[in-house]
Symmetry: C2
Subunit: 404 residues, 2 copies
């Protein structure tokens, strides 16, 4: 496949995007080609191209040289487009069905051309609507086991692993996580965003030195532990679902980090969903069933992950020490404990930090919303401080049930 | 200073090396310029250039594209010359008196031109001779505190730190450590080298699954924890000393790793020296005094390190969490515990691995040598397994006294 000629970065339009995809010869050329920009304009342009005559469609995503969040705008490296497409291609080596297929990428234009997934729903929307996805846990567990194992020192030659570490050094996007997940929510910082009623709770959290000492450990792990290539932002808005299919999208935050990082964010977003479903499921009687389903997703995701990771470790582990009894368990236990801590940070930052979740923010009754957010803060704090006392998924689920 | 013109890598000779240093205008040009290659030819060429008329001299070190150890030869990246000169220059930003001054470096030729330290002695030789160096502990503690703190996330902007991580990714040299320090000595590997009398001890060690499980953790820390720019090979052969001066040399193994790594290697080599001084000090009566001095170097090095690191943390820490009570202690404690584990690995690999220490190998009485090596294996193993029960430098020294 020949690369289209490029002359430096320029913002694509609904006209110029067509030229980008022409050399791919993806469309038949019969009849009309419809082009529509469907992004929210905060970070990326997203063009949806459809050819009704052939029924074919695809997505062209272009990174913008800035980020806009809640009216603020700051410059952001275009290199994130390269990282996103490289991460998608790396994942496709092991789980091609669990990521959108990349048809073409161009680092200079910060463009990724990929499979159209318009038939999928954003998981967060589905969870807010109270829908269940029977394959979700298996798919996420598989995605994590396959991508984390195959990018680790347990599998890769040390030279190959270090080359990947180097190519996924991702300063701009990591800085966002360092600030917005691990730092700002734990201090009285201007980026924080919460209603006045939560200020006493936020202030209690900021004054909790024991909590902050633990968060310091988690932040240091994020800053220093280059264990595996993580997605880096695996919340329920980064997962596309149907009843049969699951696709992890938008890995622009991908970097080499602690193996429990993605689990933590996924679990946190399921916990926030469970919290929100105390009050706004479709049928009052279905409430606890839906929460139980959410907990079962956490349980099954971990079990699918641990089983597959263990199989890979035993069958494909090249690192000598993978053969030593106990080493697999040590790694899984550390990954688990980290995941609980990262989940706690994610729950807190989604409650009082800059970026919220619709699961809670869309609750119309303000009193209810604030009470749930109060519980979220307590839950997140407890998970961080008690993560070493929650040694397995059942104790974690018990803590969630007690905390929401 | 203008760079000499280069056309790719070529091995220097006593003739061509003169052309390399001409543009530096270091020598006066009066009288004879003496050139002598003084390297051992295993890894590097080392040219000593002296101008008797002016009394000036310098060293030109050139990396060879291979390594030779005990008759074996394998290719080795020339990039290590760049890493060595960059690491020396980075250290000179903070401790210019504790490293050789780099006058010029050329990555293409794998050449570093530096200060001549012929008036210094290799520390290992001095230790074998039973000499004491009153400034050693203060200098090594200062070197470690300054270089580790100033290359950490506690001080550097995250972008600057990640750029340094990237530039010090050092696959070839790290692979040597991964194999020869953390792996081969713990398995029946062909690179191991020990007398037949030690085979039962080596086999006991290879069969100790608890030990190997702990070494797996230490190796994983070495592979993944990009905390600070470590020297990477700070044994007593990498330190030049006089009564007043200490210079850390040869940082070609430098990379971003765990903060306790260099401490561990330095302490291990002092412990091996103390072990060797059970039997071959100059005067029988001076034996325990010299060992006590060696232990005092360990104690004082750690205290100098911890005090200066703590001062830097308090006064120059830019990372928000450096202000949270307890975080400094957590980091120092982790660094300490790691150091003990790394020391244990170094003691074992210097006893049955490929690269030995002259401190033990030069003991002429074979029975004594083997008995001491047996103790070294037990000591190393015990340090690795008990590192969490040795919380401070006094308990570590007590363990050394009990083990040697």
């Amino acid at each position: 496949m020949s690369a289209p000629a490029t002359t430096g970065y320029q913002t694509l339009t609904e006209e110029t995007v067509v030229k980008i995809i022409e050399p791919l010869r993806f469309f038949t050329g019969e009849g009309e080609l419809r082009v529509k920009e469907i992004g929210d304009g905060n970070l990326n342009l997203v063009f949806h191209l459809t050819e009704p005559a052939s029924g074919k469609s695809l997505i062209v995503k272009q990174a913008l040289p800035y980020a806009k969040v809640v009216g603020e705008s700051w410059p952001l490296s275009l290199d994130r487009a390269r990282i996103e497409s490289e991460a998608l291609k790396k994942a496709a080596e092991f789980v091609p069905d669990l990521v959108p297929k990349v048809l073409y990428s161009n680092a200079e234009l910060a463009v990724t051309v990929m499979e159209d997934l318009s038939d999928h729903t954003i998981l967060r929307k589905g969870l807010i609507a109270g829908n269940q996805y029977p394959k979700l846990a298996e798919h996420v567990g598989t995605f994590l086991a396959q991508t984390l194992f195959h990018t680790s020192d347990f599998y890769l030659h040390p030279f190959a692993k270090k080359a990947l570490v180097q190519s996924f050094i991702n300063p701009d996007l990591c800085k966002i996580t360092e600030d917005l997940v691990f730092t700002d929510p734990f201090f009285d910082h201007e980026t924080n965003d919460f209603p006045d009623e939560l200020r006493p709770d936020a202030e209690a959290l900021w004054g909790d030195q024991e909590l902050k000492r633990e968060v310091a450990q988690l932040k240091l792990a994020f800053l220093t532990r280059a264990e595996v290539l993580v997605h880096g932002d695996l919340h329920s808005g980064s997962i596309f679902v149907t009843g049969e299919s699951t696709k992890m999208i938008d890995p622009e935050f991908a970097y080499y980090g602690p193996a429990g990082f993605d689990h933590g964010h996924f679990f946190a977003n399921l916990a926030l969903s469970a919290l929100s479903h105390n009050y706004h499921t479709k049928e009052p009687g279905a409430r606890s069933d839906y929460q139980e389903w959410l907990f079962s997703v956490i349980r099954d995701t971990w079990h699918h992950f641990a089983e597959q990771f263990s199989e890979l470790w035993k069958n494909k582990g090249t690192e000598t020490y993978t053969k030593v009894p106990g080493t697999l368990n040590d790694f899984l236990q550390q990954t688990w404990t980290d995941a609980i801590g990262f989940a706690g940070c994610e729950i807190i930052r989604r409650t009082i930090g800059l970026a919220h979740v619709a699961d809670l923010d869309s609750i119309e009754d303000q009193g209810v919303q604030i009470e749930l957010k109060r519980r979220a803060l307590r839950l997140g704090s407890s998970l961080i401080k008690r993560r070493n006392q929650l040694p397995d998924v059942e104790s974690f689920i018990a803590a969630l049930k007690g905390g929401i």
